[in-house]
Point group: D2
Chain length 232, copies 4
């Protein structure tokens, strides 16, 4: 599982100015070198200069996020390259609003896929809980061995089918769901923040919590004030 | 793979009247028993009576479809229960606009999944073609045997992991992608017609062509004039 | 301003069963005539019989709403006919997700539009508040007279332009924004509940608060448990 | 009416590489200074250097556009500031998919709005045609005078109401629909191309044809190959 930055549009000031169009106003950066007694000052690197938002613009972003006025955050774009095993990819794609994805297609490609290996196999959750997981299973190591043996064997059979001339679109049925899929993912601040908030929840699967944290680690330095406000 | 009707809202006249709101007009069914010299007359069963559209309303639907005025078709709803193997399910879910899905979650359920068995394993496409498939592979029967043996073994290992107390959300990584997933799918005429047109194309995977035809077979009698116009 | 019921698909049990597909389960109505000690029992008229949800299904709907699991509520459809003055219509159409609209078009129609007359003209909000309104203005009656005189005069000029052969698509520029627009609006429970919650907020414009309450009054008896849970 | 560039993300090569992720491939610019015998060569200024796409990448973009594979075009963003009179703004906002807007709100602002003045008032279309317009009306000049007198009077009454302490959210009902609205509009290549194609159609209102051409004039130099392919 991996997340890589590709491109983005916008910064915290762009969020502010998308909101201020409601009032027919625009704002500007507090100039580089200005002192600020605002406690939450965040310096941002714009064109090689450290700048920060005016205090009123900080507060506006916090107000927008608190009242779920999400459209000013949507005039931004962040483009990432992500890889994750099939069920985690499927969870990611459940987030539709404001996100677009292009993924590798096993109708086209026939290269040997990579098997995702978890750190450990975890126990089922205790008691009446219906989802999630507990600590590492007592025999986690043995299950990891089994999983890798079975998974790699299935991948080997896949490759045999490809080599024998079976069409890729059907051969993929034999692949384990643990193989990794690569995709390009583009969304805006508001859509990624919804993804992050839902998928870093302790009830989410550990694997997607990890992925969401990686996404957050990329976006936060690009939009520090907005990201903090949206994910508070 | 299977598609089952659950519920729907609307009929061809509802499409007509959603369009006629632009003109502040409403239309009605040509009454039961009326004779019509319109060649394309389609009798529909509304409240137990055979009725059909007026000729002008037929033509309006055809005009709307031909010029991609899709919103009048979107004031409808069709709810289906579908099952398909993972990669086909993933293709279905690429259709986002106007569709919503709820699928069974292997974070919750631990029942033994069913393996999709194709009629045959097909050959890779000939020449320079990058996707699709050809005729049944010469050794299709042998590959089917192999696929079922490997697939069912993986399912058995899955069940072992569940029985040993591994959390379902991780155990599913060992499952083959050929296992069937069930979901409830709700969309409107316009969104299902886009799905149908794209997925019955000869370049689409045979398995999704079959699924799209099943979807069409359910929707067509509910909206005969509209469906014919949208999928012409 | 007016809201009229046109059609719908679904009921509270359909919401329950769209959620239970995650667990590969389905539920049923508590049969007509069953006694229930559940305090929140809501009898619903299904096929002419009073039925209600099982207690566990009540609780499931409340759980889904509280945790913003909105997709089970989206396998439903409600179709309305609405009229409102231009700026209120514009606020309604800001709600995009899960809603589709077809409105009358003044590129086509040339009938005399109706002017929306508010009960009173309200005062600007006090102090530092940037939006909303206060009580009726002291001279509300005089402003209402002025508004009607100016508005109706503009409508008369519109009609003169139409009669003189000016194209409708341009003549409409002279119309006041207070003229009413008619549209057909189709959405699901989740999307209408978002609209209702945001537009019945005390900060919303009084006129759209009224419209949202009318929408709620139509939907609540169709989905009593779900609507109550989503708008709590 | 006016359209102004604010920001963007992406270029033609980014479109190519969003598509090539399906094949697990990436492409690069043909280096600056390379000669190309490809007839459709378009030099683009990237980081101050003239570069162009490889011939195969040109062809890929054309293939994607021709077959309506729109997602690779959606990993881009273009942010504009637009102003247009109310009915034209409403037509723009009918384009929902992949576009987000923030507009000035006359619940907040109370400045004197600007009245849009068309070049001429056109005749209604001839014969049985239901929408559109013909040549300038014989008395266009007189109608323009009337429109401006009535429109400016209504704006003056609006200002009187504001000055007298009427809440802005109601005072706006008296404004003519011809007043201009400002908004920030962010979308991707695919969504703007759909807007452009539909609104430069000869059946579209002249005013929105003009606006769509302005949008196109801004986007084309940023994505010359893609824009040409999408709007062919």
């Amino acid at each position: 599982m991996d997340v890589e930055y590709l491109d983005h549009m916008g910064n915290d000031l762009a969020v502010v100015n998308a909101a201020r169009v409601s009032f027919s106003k625009t704002s500007e950066w507090l100039p580089s070198g200005s002192t600020s007694d605002y406690p939450d000052v965040v310096y941002q690197n714009i064109d090689g200069n450290p700048v920060n938002l005016k205090q009123g613009d900080h507060k506006l972003i916090q107000y927008l996020a608190r009242h779920n006025h999400w459209t000013p955050f949507a005039h931004t774009a962040i483009k990432l390259r992500v890889s994750a095993p099939v069920p985690i990819r499927t969870q990611c794609f459940k987030h539709k609003s404001g996100l677009v994805e292009n993924e590798e297609s096993r109708r086209y490609i026939t290269t040997t896929p990579e098997l995702f290996i978890p750190d450990s196999f975890r126990e089922a959750p205790m008691g009446n809980v219906k989802q999630g997981s507990g600590e590492a299973h007592y025999f986690s190591k043995q299950w990891l061995d089994l999983y890798q043996r079975v998974g790699k064997e299935a991948i080997a059979y896949y490759q045999m089918m490809i080599d024998a001339g079976i069409c890729p679109e059907q051969a993929r049925f034999i692949l384990p769901q643990g193989v990794e899929v690569n995709w390009v993912w583009t969304g805006n601040l508001a859509s990624y923040a919804r993804f992050f908030n839902q998928r870093t929840d302790p009830h989410a699967q550990k694997e997607i919590q990890y992925l969401a944290e990686e996404v957050g680690a990329i976006i936060e330095p690009l939009f520090p004030v907005s990201w903090k406000a949206l994910t508070a």
